[in-house]
Structure formats: structure tokens, C-alpha cells
């Protein structure tokens, strides 16, 4: 059973329709990445799936679904003192031992007593991830999680996400600009531009004319560089592809 499914999802901000007729579903344990140009509704789609927006269409979640959310950015007001240990306890309290374990897992041990405002961008991203993981989520939702990280930091972060998925069996839905990383770290890519332009395994999407129309040929070189051990088949991507092609061409 899918963790979360949206059918014919449309979202409007005022008069402007940001998303129209989007169909998407996330299965347990898969990594799905949404790519698309600026203003294509990527973050809106995430927020709609998380139930933060009023939408038309249908969203169904598996009963008892636990979602861990890592936002795009978090502006922390200096007037609010917030040590990492306290931040991790929002909204549910966790023992210091459990906190330490998760912080170690995401690669930032020994920062529980530091102020969140004093962390570097990369450390803060990992703390956000740690907080999301503490809820033992079925689905991890990340909105451009590597903004502000350099290329090494970015690659390391995505490797961490993959490792976490392997260990915890958590499904991952993320938004990204980083096309090359997407190609290597995702089971399935959804190319969005107000509607679903095309979707499938990274290879299928890369070769889709809709994708090329959006992103051009320019990124091909970079993409090729980042292709590696992920060329093996992923069976969970084959489902109901014909139907999705139809949607793709309708747009």
C-alpha cells in the first residue's frame, strides 16, 4: 500500500493556479525526487502533501503515517535562545541518549548543547534531519535540503539520506535543483512544471523530451559524470507507467 497518494491535485495561490491535475504516490522505502524549474510548484506540492495548504483533489495517507519534514530554510530569530537538545525535543521529548545516538548517526556528534543559531549551514541541515528522524518516520520529506552547502557537502548529505533509507527503511520524498545528484540518489524522478511533465527512473526522465525541453541539453555532461552504480534496474518504478505517460503528454 502506498504511504501517500494524491489524485488530480490542484492548488491555487489567489488567482494563480500553481499545480493542476497532479497525480503522485509514494511507496514504502523508495526515494522519489521532484525536479523542476523555479516556480514550478515543487515546494507547493510538498506542502500540499503535508496537509499545509487548501487543495482541490484527493490526498489519502496510510492510516498512522508518520512524516518527518526537513524544511528548505529556517530563519531562527535571535531573540529565541534554542540549544540543539531543546530543538530536538520539539514537539516530542526524547531521552539524551536517544538524541546523542541520532546526532551521531547524522554525523554531528557532541553538539547537543550548542545553540542552533551558532551552527554552520551543514550542521544545521543535519540537526533538522536528526529531528525528523527522531519521530521514527515512515516518510521523510525534504525541501531542497542542501541549499547553501558546497558540492562536497551536498554529495555527503545525499549519501547520508541513502544510508538512512537503507538502515531505517524510510521512504524519502525530496525536492531538488541538483539534477546530477538526483540522478544518482533517486529511485524515481518526477519532473514538475505546474503539472507532472514526466516521471520514471532517472534514466527514463533524463531521456524524456519533456525533461529536455525544460532543462535543455546543457546538463548532460554533468549528468553523465555522476552516473555510477545506480544503473541497475529498480522494479518499483515500472508500475503504471502508461498512465503516467498520458498525463505527461496531456500537459
Amino acid at each position: 500500500m502506498s504511504l501517500i497518494t494524491a489524485r488530480d491535485l490542484s492548488v491555487s495561490h489567489g488567482r494563480r493556479q500553481v499545480l493542476r491535475g497532479v497525480n503522485i504516490s509514494i511507496d514504502p522505502g523508495e526515494i522519489v525526487t521532484i525536479v523542476g524549474p523555479n516556480g514550478s510548484g515543487k515546494s507547493t506540492l510538498l506542502r500540499a502533501l503535508l496537509g499545509m495548504l487548501r487543495v482541490s483533489g484527493q490526498i489519502s495517507r496510510k492510516p498512522g503515517l508518520v512524516v518527518g519534514y526537513v524544511p528548505q530554510k529556517l530563519a531562527l530569530d535571535r531573540s529565541l535562545p534554542m540549544p540543539v537538545s531543546c530543538f530536538l525535543n520539539l514537539p516530542t521529548r526524547h531521552s539524551p541518549a536517544k538524541q546523542a545516538e541520532v546526532l551521531r548517526r547524522v554525523g554531528v556528534p557532541d553538539i547537543a548543547r550548542q545553540q542552533v543559531a551558532e551552527l554552520s549551514g551543514g550542521q544545521f541541515q543535519r540537526v533538522l534531519l536528526a529531528r525528523a528522524l527522531l519521530a521514527r518516520p515512515d516518510l521523510l520529506v525534504l525541501d531542497e535540503p542542501t541549499q547553501g552547502l558546497d558540492q562536497n557537502g551536498e554529495a555527503a548529505f545525499y549519501r547520508l539520506i541513502e544510508a538512512v533509507r537503507r538502515e531505517m527503511g524510510v521512504a524519502v520524498l525530496m525536492v531538488s535543483h541538483d539534477l546530477h545528484v538526483v540522478m544518482s540518489a533517486s529511485d524515481r524522478v518526477i519532473c514538475l512544471n505546474g503539472h507532472v511533465c514526466c516521471e520514471g527512473t532517472p534514466h527514463v526522465v533524463r531521456d524524456a523530451p519533456e525533461y529536455r525541453a525544460l532543462f535543455g541539453q546543457g546538463t548532460q555532461g554533468a549528468l553523465a559524470l555522476y552516473q555510477h552504480e545506480h544503473d541497475h534496474a529498480h522494479h518499483d518504478c515500472d508500475h503504471d507507467h502508461a498512465a503516467k505517460k498520458d498525463i505527461a503528454h496531456a500537459g
Partner: protein, 263 residues
């Protein structure tokens, strides 16, 4: 013992601070200072209505402060510039209240008591009101603490955790209206915001966690109340403003302390 007016005044100040410490911290974190001002100014309109309709003052203040607070929340939720809107609402309510009070029948009303408080005239009934309201607010905030805190930190993170940030915002809005109603007698409509903000801002200088800041703000509120009352007695100054001056002095001292410590 409670016959002593000074003791009642001290108890009133201590009681109000129990609410203004944690609530004031949220006001600072959420940048609601103007919001507090507007709600407090509206209280004067509440006083006028209560006098005209022969209702208890606290009831009139509570109703109008609530209406004002909800109107502002509604306005800012619709994305109107809160700054200008707050200014318009805040001073309209204050002036309308001052005008309306002049129509109040019979006795001449002592305006300064409502504008700057009359803590030395606090009655036992007032004390019940102050303590009841303050404990209710402190309890409410303690109960919803992590939900309020996460909604303040990031409405998105709160929503993703199944918390409705709008509802938490309303909890704070209602608390603010109650604080205004119960502390009008203590520091007056013009200085309630000061009692919310100054102790919390001073507490920020020496706190490294949200809980510590809220508790320290309460302690500073107590210190300012007692010191202000003492000063008022010693130098024959108005009590409400003296309490705020004491809070400001504590803020100044802590600013100096934290500057030296960080240097």
C-alpha cells in the same frame, strides 16, 4: 494582613508577572510588541464601554481586548501590512475610548488610573482577578508549551508534526487579551506592553534556553515589581511607571553584564 495596601500591591505585581514572564517571552520571540500595544490601548475603549453600560471594568476590558486581538490576527492572516493596520486600530481604539469616557455619567473618572495603573488601590477582589487570570495563562502556556514553541519557531515544522500553528497563535492572542484585562489596574493600558517586553528582553541576555528565559522573565518581573513599589514609596513617585523604570534598570544592568561577559 491583606488589609495592608502595600502588601496587596506587591501581591498584584507578583501575580501579574507570573503571566507576563512566559507570555512576554512569546511576544518577544514572535515580534508581537505592537500587537500587545494595540490590544492594551483597546482596553481604554473597554473601560469606557464598561462605565457607560455599568458593567465591571474587567469585563469591558476583556471583551474589547479580545475583539481587538482577534481583529488584528484576522487582519494579519489576510496578509495586510500589520504595521500600518496596527497603528490605525491601536490609536483609533485608544482615542475612541478617551472620547467615550468623557460621556460617562456621574462621577468624574480618574483617567490616569487606567492609563498608568493604580496598583496602590488594588482591592482583594482585584487580587483574585489578577491571580486567577495570571495562573490560568501560565497554566495554559505550560500545558501547550512545546506546541506553542514549535509554532513560533516554524509554522511549517509545526504543521508537519500535526500541530495547527493558527490555533496556537490564537491561544497566545487570547492570553494577551486576558493579561491586558487583569493587569490594567496594576500598570495601566499604556505600560502593559512594557511589562511584557522589558523583563523578557532582559531575561534573553542571560538565558540559553526558552524555558530559562521564561522563568527568568518572571523573576525579573518580581524584582521590578518589588523594587518599583519600594521606589514609589521612598520617592513618592507613581507606582506603575516606577515598576517599569525598575525593569528598565534591570535590563540596563544585565546588558552591561552580558557585554562584559562576552568581551
Amino acid at each position: 494582613m491583606l488589609d495592608d495596601f502595600l502588601l496587596r500591591a506587591a501581591l498584584a505585581g507578583i501575580g501579574v508577572s507570573i503571566a507576563t514572564g512566559p507570555l512576554g517571552s512569546f511576544v518577544v520571540w514572535r515580534r508581537m510588541a505592537y500587537f500587545g500595544d494595540a490590544t492594551a490601548h483597546a482596553a481604554i475603549l473597554g473601560v469606557a464601554l464598561a462605565l457607560l453600560m455599568a458593567l465591571p471594568i474587567w469585563l469591558g476590558t476583556l471583551v474589547i481586548a479580545l475583539a481587538m486581538a482577534l481583529a488584528i490576527s484576522w487582519m494579519s492572516a489576510r496578509g495586510q501590512s500589520p504595521d500600518t493596520g496596527l497603528g490605525v486600530l491601536s490609536y483609533s481604539a485608544l482615542s475612541a475610548g478617551l472620547v467615550a469616557i468623557s460621556f460617562a455619567p456621574g462621577v468624574r473618572v480618574d483617567l490616569s488610573a487606567f492609563l498608568f495603573g493604580d496598583i496602590l488601590a488594588v482591592t482583594r477582589g482585584d487580587l483574585v482577578l489578577v491571580w486567577g487570570g495570571a495562573l490560568a495563562i501560565a497554566g495554559l502556556i505550560a500545558w501547550r508549551w512545546s506546541r506553542l514553541l514549535l509554532s513560533t519557531l516554524s509554522p511549517d515544522l509545526a504543521a508537519a508534526s500535526g500541530i495547527n500553528p493558527t490555533r496556537e497563535g490564537i491561544v497566545l492572542t487570547l492570553s494577551l487579551a486576558i493579561v491586558v484585562a487583569v493587569s490594567l489596574k496594576v500598570v495601566g493600558a499604556l505600560l502593559i506592553s512594557a511589562l511584557l517586553i522589558i523583563p523578557a528582553a532582559a531575561a534573553r541576555l542571560v538565558s540559553s534556553s526558552p524555558v530559562a528565559m521564561a522563568v527568568t522573565a518572571v523573576l525579573i518581573g518580581w524584582g521590578a515589581s518589588l523594587a518599583g513599589l519600594w521606589g514609589s514609596l521612598q520617592y513618592d513617585t507613581p507606582a506603575g511607571p516606577s515598576i517599569i523604570v525598575a525593569a528598565a534598570l534591570i535590563y540596563l544592568v544585565l546588558t552591561g553584564y552580558s557585554t562584559v561577559r562576552e568581551a
